[in-house]
Symmetry: C2
Amino acid sequence: MHSSTITPIVSAKERLLASAGRLFHEHGINATGIDLVVRNAGVAKASLYNNFANKEALVVAYLEQELDGWIRNAHALDNPLSPRWERIAALFEALARSVELNTFHGCPFTNAVIELPECAAVGAVAQRYRAVVRTHLANLIGAGTAATVTSRLALLYDAAITAAKVGRDAALVREASTMAQELVEARRPEDVKPSR
Amino acid sequence: MHSSTITPIVSAKERLLASAGRLFHEHGINATGIDLVVRNAGVAKASLYNNFANKEALVVAYLEQELDGWIRNAHALDNPLSPRWERIAALFEALARSVELNTFHGCPFTNAVIELPECAAVGAVAQRYRAVVRTHLANLIGAGTAATVTSRLALLYDAAITAAKVGRDAALVREASTMAQELVEARRPEDVKPSR
DNA sequence: ATATTACCAGACCGATCGGTATAGTTAGTG
DNA sequence: CACTAACTATACCGATCGGTCTGGTAATAT
């Protein structure tokens, strides 16, 4: 048994995770039944329970996949040659565009914590996600910056996500972006606003 | 048929709304079955469907009740004689204390939007809630203030709620409070922080 | 050749979901 | 008194929930 299984080109587990990723995120976890995940993945029901102990384990695996995705996306959006304020703005701008395209379905971790409030494993992944975001923001603003500034940036990112999900308001997301830019550089709002 | 029904001291409808208020908010809407709401209210199942068309109608009524509650609470927390920064801080401080007591279950409207993402009626109440918060914040900071400041305050309140619900971090909630205070007055962080 | 592994198709399970229907009780009203 | 309205209690409905089990196929490893 070597590292990779060759058989069906893409394994049942991968197809299940891809299916769960779409359905859980777009329609919610509790609203998405096991049968639908299985059917959508084009996979036998037994294959689900061969790879995951139960639905909760599938949910946790889905969240871990989303965490990897967030990190990859954050690095894809990041241009290390750009000025700090621009590298941070890119994070918010991606959110704002997602709102405008009506493709934003909320933060998968916040959503999961709200949908399964008494599931400790979900809460744990959500905390890991928040630590990852915090670390990423800290790297973007530079090593010497006070922890307070990192906290404030993280708060503004939280705010932008709620403004996007509940408020569906791209302008509000961009206002959060402006606040973030003012935080990291001595940029006055007048300088920031016209540049989109 | 006068305005009030006298019969059972407290009507079935009121008991249902009280029960739904507790259960929906603490355990989630999708996780709370009709039968549980009815049993917890000490009411017949038929009484639910005499007062509400279906579960969705009960959810909307629950949210409208929560909206009234938010307004009443905001006024209870408010001391119009206090300086502006203090009136705003009270809003955040209530959140922070709720986190410390482990009694915070999230914003009912955000939770509902996430649990029922394709329910238009829920989205509508959530938008009304956001408008109410915005108006309240605008009143707290005074009539002459720029709309941008109101937006920023509302963003910080969103941020505090996510920090409370997902992060379970009272210190982060208070950092948002500090940001809000700096926004409304020319209060430097050094002046704000030590005062609680 | 054989045993193992990964998989599929689908029947099946008890429990619970949202919602309806039946029947009877209680209390205020003309 | 008769009537109405609000209520309780409970049986019942079809659908779906998460999860198990059986049986069969195709490819791999020994």
